[in-house]
Every structure is written in C-alpha cells, then in structure tokens.
Symmetry: C2
Subunit: 358 residues, 2 copies
C-alpha cells in the first residue's frame, strides 16, 4: 500500500471552510485507489502570526519539506494589512514558495459545459475554453534584488525593486511549459513585454531558442497588453500560456472571469523535486468567511492536482474531477455559480455531495 | 482670431489612414469655431528610420516642442522588429514622451449607447460604462534606471530593469487624477501591487495622504489582479482610475474590450506645460494597413481631446464628439464595430460622413 504524508495548511478565512472539504475528498479518492494518506495540519499566515508571531513558522517550513505535498487554503486578513511586509500573512506564501523552490505555477482555466452560463464573458466566447497558464514563481519582479526604499538626490523618498530574468531561469520554466504543451494540444503562447522590459527581451530570445527543440509545439509570442485583450475576446485560441510572475498573476486572475468565478480555480506550484503546493486561487475572502457560502470546488480541484502532479496518482485525480462534474450534473451550485433552475447549496453541503459522487 | 500650430505625426501603417481623417475633422471643427490652425507634418517611427536612420529625428522633437499640440498616428512595423532597442520605431514614442515630459496619460473608455452591441463583454455589463484611466507615463518600470543586460556569478546572461516610484512622481500624477476625479463623478480608484512592489507601497501611501486634501473625492485602492477582474465583471463601478505606467498599459488595453474595439479609443499625454501628445491607442496594425478598413474614430476622438486638453477649446471638441455620435446614429460602421442592420463603410467614407455631420 502506497503511503503519503500531506501537509495541510488551511491558513486564514475561507481557507478553513474549503480545506476540510478538500481533505475529505482527497481521503476518500485515495482510499478508493488503495492509497494510504496521512494528514498533518500546520499553521501559516495570520493563524501563525497569532500563534508564534511570524507568518511562516520554521516548524511549518521544515515539516512541509518533509511532506509529499502541501494542501494550502489561503492567507491574509484585514487585521494584519498594516503590518510591516515581513509580518504580513502573504509574506508566508512568498517565503514558502522560495523555501520549497516551487518555480512553476500551473493555473488551469476550464469552462465546464455545465457552467458556461456563469461566465462573465459572452457565452459563445467562453464555451469550450480549456487553457493552462504556466507562471514563473520564484524569480522576476517579485523576488529579484535589489529592492527596498531609499532617498534620492532631491531628498525624495523612493520605493524600488528589480524586474529581472536570467537565461537559466527562463530555460527552467520554459522547459516545463514546452513539455506540458507537448502533452496538451501542442500550442504554446509566451507572454511578455519585450518591447520595453529587458528581462522580457531575454525571455523571448530564450523561448524562441528552445522552440527548435520542440518541432511538435507551435510557439507564439504576445505582449501582455494584447494577451489581456485576447483572453477576453477569443480565449479559445489559447492552449498553454507561459509567462513571468507578475504577468502571470494578472492573467490568471483575469482568466478566472472566463469560467466566471475564482471559486472554481485550482493551482499547483511545483519544483524540480520535493513537495509541491496545491491551493485554490481565491484567497481568504474576508467578506465571505463564516457564512458557509463559498465554493469548495477550487480547493477540491486543487486536491485533484495534488494527486496528479504531486503524487502522480492520475486515477485518484480523475475520480475527484469526475465527482465535481457529476455534482454539477446533479444540479448543485454554490452562490458564486448559481443560475436559475439549479439548486443553491452552501460550502458544507457541496462537500457532502462531492463525497456522494465520489 | 486664435492661431495654433499642430504637429502632425502619422508615423507608420494605419497611422497614415486615420490621421488624415482626424486632421480634416480638426480643421473643420476649428474653423467653425473661428480658430486658425496650421499643420506641420513631421516624420516619426519607421518612416523616420527610412528617412534619416533614427526613429525620432532631432528636428521632429524640436519642432514638436514648438507646436501647440501633437497629433500622432502610430509607430512600428514588423520590418524593424529585430532592430536593437534604440533603433526600434516604438523607441520614438518613449523618447517623445520623455522629451516633452508628458507624465499624465489619459485614456477614456466610454460605451456609446449606439455601440453597446460591439462589446466583448455581456451587453448588460458594458452598458453605460464611462471611465477614465489616468496612467503615469514618464516614470516607473518603463523609465527608471538602472536597466540593461549583465552576466551573473553563474556566468548566466541576465536582463534587468528597475520598477520605482518616488514620492514626488506619485504626487505629481495623483494631483492630476484627484483634480480630474473631482470634476467627474468624484470617485478615484488607485491601482497598484502594494502587497509585493515597493514602488506600489509608496504609491499607495502617497495617494492615501493626498486624499485628505480632497474630501469630495471618494478614494479606493485595488490590486492590479483584482482591478483586471473588476474591469471585466463590473466596469460600471469605475469613474477615474489612477495607475502606473505598466499597469496602465495593461488595464487600458483590457478596458478596450468594454466598448469592443481599440478603433474607438483616443488618448492624451499631458505635461505641466508645453504641448501634449494626442493619439489613437490602436497602433500601426500591419494586418489591416492599406485596405481602407480601419476605424478613424479613435484618431478623430483624439483630435477632440487635442482641442479640449491641448488647446482648451471645449466647444470645438464638443463639435467633434457630437459629429461622431451623429454618424453612429446615422448607422455608419467600420468593420470593427459592424453589426447587422448597420451600414458597413471604410475608413475614408467614415471620414466623409464625420465631416458631413460636423
Ligand atoms: C498574495 C499574492 C502575493 C499572490 C501573488 O501575487 O503571487 C496571489 O495574488 C497569487 O496570485 O497567488
Ligand atoms: C508601444 C508601447 C511602448 C506603448 C506602451 O506600452 O506605452 C503602447 O503599448 C501604449 O500603450 O502606448
């Protein structure tokens, strides 16, 4: 019997509502496949600040490293918004990504046929969209040095940071993207701002160079401004999108408007080896916390990604994805995706229905 | 009789189709208001590269500085895509902005009732949108130093640049935004990535500080990823948006999807004194050039902005805007905004109809 240890980090806000649902689904899907999962809950974000005064306790990072995969909820809460940066909940995320060296962020955007009505775009635009955004996660403007605050010659306060990519950083993430694109529909679109940013110029050069190693992948390049437009006006043109940490943040949230709810979107953050981080993209959602109204599907689908990419347990992953689809077929909807003629349920009930479908 | 000199820079591609239309409209509207305009055509972009080997000839900059306002078409053409950066057509734009110190980029996004069907969003989402993006234009990641290419300790090539804002840069553009928001509907939304970028942290602090001077303006802050989502899911919430050079580039192109065509969108770039730059946002559009199919309205509406913000000739500006609306009422549409039941026309014919309406 294969055994795995999963580090569970619900974090703040609605993380505490959706992660228990995802853990239940994970446990059941795994046991149906004869896997033995054990779960270890670890504090992160605001919870950790309250507990030990830092957003990412050393103990959490150490144990996370020893696990086979991380299932993360969300971090952040208004209470800590005015903390200095190193004591903000979201700093835990950045530290965790760096600590685990998860440089490849995978954000699939799929419009399930049952949900085409919840799109914010036109229905005919959203129909059939199935794309994957691969975002570089440990370099670029989020991580490069130098950065900080200084005073210029005019005695003026300045906030600054560095946007940079090195050839090997680009190659590292581009390799992941080409390999995945090859297994998908063979189309890779790299997004940058090569007309202005030096890091983007190098980025485009390296992606172009690697393309010759993948004759079966059709490569294109878009500027970030055009990419943002194209995600809205004809998103079906996209298969795999490769981009940097900043543009990936923007594009993946923007792309969430295609299915119509961040409550549907899972993500994975992977390294070369070691455990990956699997988390819904929706954040801690202070406005919705405590009402049992949020959609646990993003977390549940993150659990499926955990099985597929983290543990290579494709069958168990498929079980979860099928269960989600089945629940939708049976007409259950949380508030974010509720449309006339479907049955409105809360987070917990949705969880129960997912287990039933499993 | 008031006299003004307008520097006309058609530039590349469709700039040469739309600018003549805009000049005609400008000339007629001005003469109807008893103004005396003279026009001086200057080379920029690819045209200038062909002519004198640089994208922004000194002569062009000098004469532009002596004018009362610039009417610009577009720069860029695939032929020069592989030029080194200082010999790329778009470098002319960056140099021109720096040379004229036009730090405030105004990009209005309006959904005219006649055009609500051409939106890429849902009709009920797009209806009534009337927002203005104010983008900082001469600082930030486009302009800050240091930037360039280097080799790191691992012998790895690195492309890098600096994202920075100083307190006085933020104050400079924020002042413009508060003053304009006050004259609009009194709502100002500042967009940044203050959770990650130091320049954004300072940006948010300064905007927050200035808010106390404008009790009549309601200020909010959004992260760029949320702002991108909100422009798609409820754009009517926005009145005036203030943001930096990079995020402004992305948001303004994205916002073009609300009216549904970049062919409708004018822009202005203003300094403290000296001439402003007025240009359609659509670029040189190689795919569409030479077919007489593009929409001259973005250029014509840029001419209206030139009258309003450049020459303070509000009445003449209103004439042009009314003429555009009238042509739409009369059912004429270029390809980009054509819908069943309207009359499809080319660029030239659209120009003639605008003159007729004037
Ligand atoms: C919280 C923030 C730092 C984070 C990011 O931008 O990476 C989040 O927006 C995300 O997309 O995962
Ligand atoms: C051509 C490019 C440098 C320019 C920019 O990003 O400023 C353009 O995209 C724009 O929006 O005016």
């Amino acid at each position: 019997k294969k055994r795995y240890t999963i580090a569970v980090l619900p974090g703040d806000g609605v993380g505490n509502e959706v992660i228990p649902v995802a853990v239940d689904a994970l446990r059941l899907a795994a046991s149906l496949e004869g896997l033995d999962l054990s779960f270890e809950e670890l504090p992160i974000g605001g919870v950790a600040l309250d507990l030990v005064g830092v957003p990412l306790p050393e103990e959490t990072l150490t144990r996370a490293k020893q696990s086979d995969a991380l299932l993360l909820g969300a971090v952040g809460w208004p209470k800590w918004d005015n903390n200095p940066k190193h004591l903000k909940p979201i700093t835990a995320l950045l530290q965790l990504r760096a600590g685990l060296q998860v440089f490849a962020n995978l954000r699939p955007i799929t419009v399930l046929p049952q949900l085409v009505d919840s799109t914010y775009l036109r229905k005919d635009t959203a129909e059939g969209v199935d794309l994957l955004i691969i975002r570089e996660l440990t370099g670029g403007i989020y991580n490069a040095l130098p950065r900080g605050f200084t005073t210029n010659e005019q005695g003026d306060e300045v906030g600054f940071c560095t946007e940079s990519y090195s050839a090997s950083e680009v190659d590292h993430i581009a390799r992941v993207a080409f390999d995945i694109a090859k297994q998908r529909r063979g189309k890779l679109c790299s997004v940058d701002k090569a007309t202005v940013l030096e890091g983007s110029m190098l980025w485009r050069k390296r992606v172009t160079a690697m393309a010759s190693e993948y004759p079966e992948v059709e490569v294109s390049h878009l500027l970030i401004d055009t990419a943002a437009m194209d995600l809205v006006r004809h998103p079906r043109q996209f298969d795999t999108i490769l981009t940097g940490v900043m543009f990936g943040d923007i594009l993946s949230d923007l792309a969430a408007m295609i299915p119509g709810s961040v409550g549907l979107l899972p993500s994975a953050a992977l390294g070369d080896s070691g455990p990956g981080i699997f988390e819904p993209v929706h954040g801690s959602a202070p406005k919705h916390y405590g009402k049992d109204t949020v959609n646990p599907m993003a977390a549940v689908l993150s659990a499926a990604m955990l099985l597929r990419y983290g543990l290579k347990e494709e069958n168990a992953a498929n079980r979860i994805e099928k269960a989600v689809s089945d629940v939708l077929d049976r007409g259950f909807r949380t508030r974010d995706i509720h449309t006339p003629g479907t049955t409105l349920v809360g987070c917990k009930r949705m969880g129960e229905e997912i287990l039933r479908s499993l």
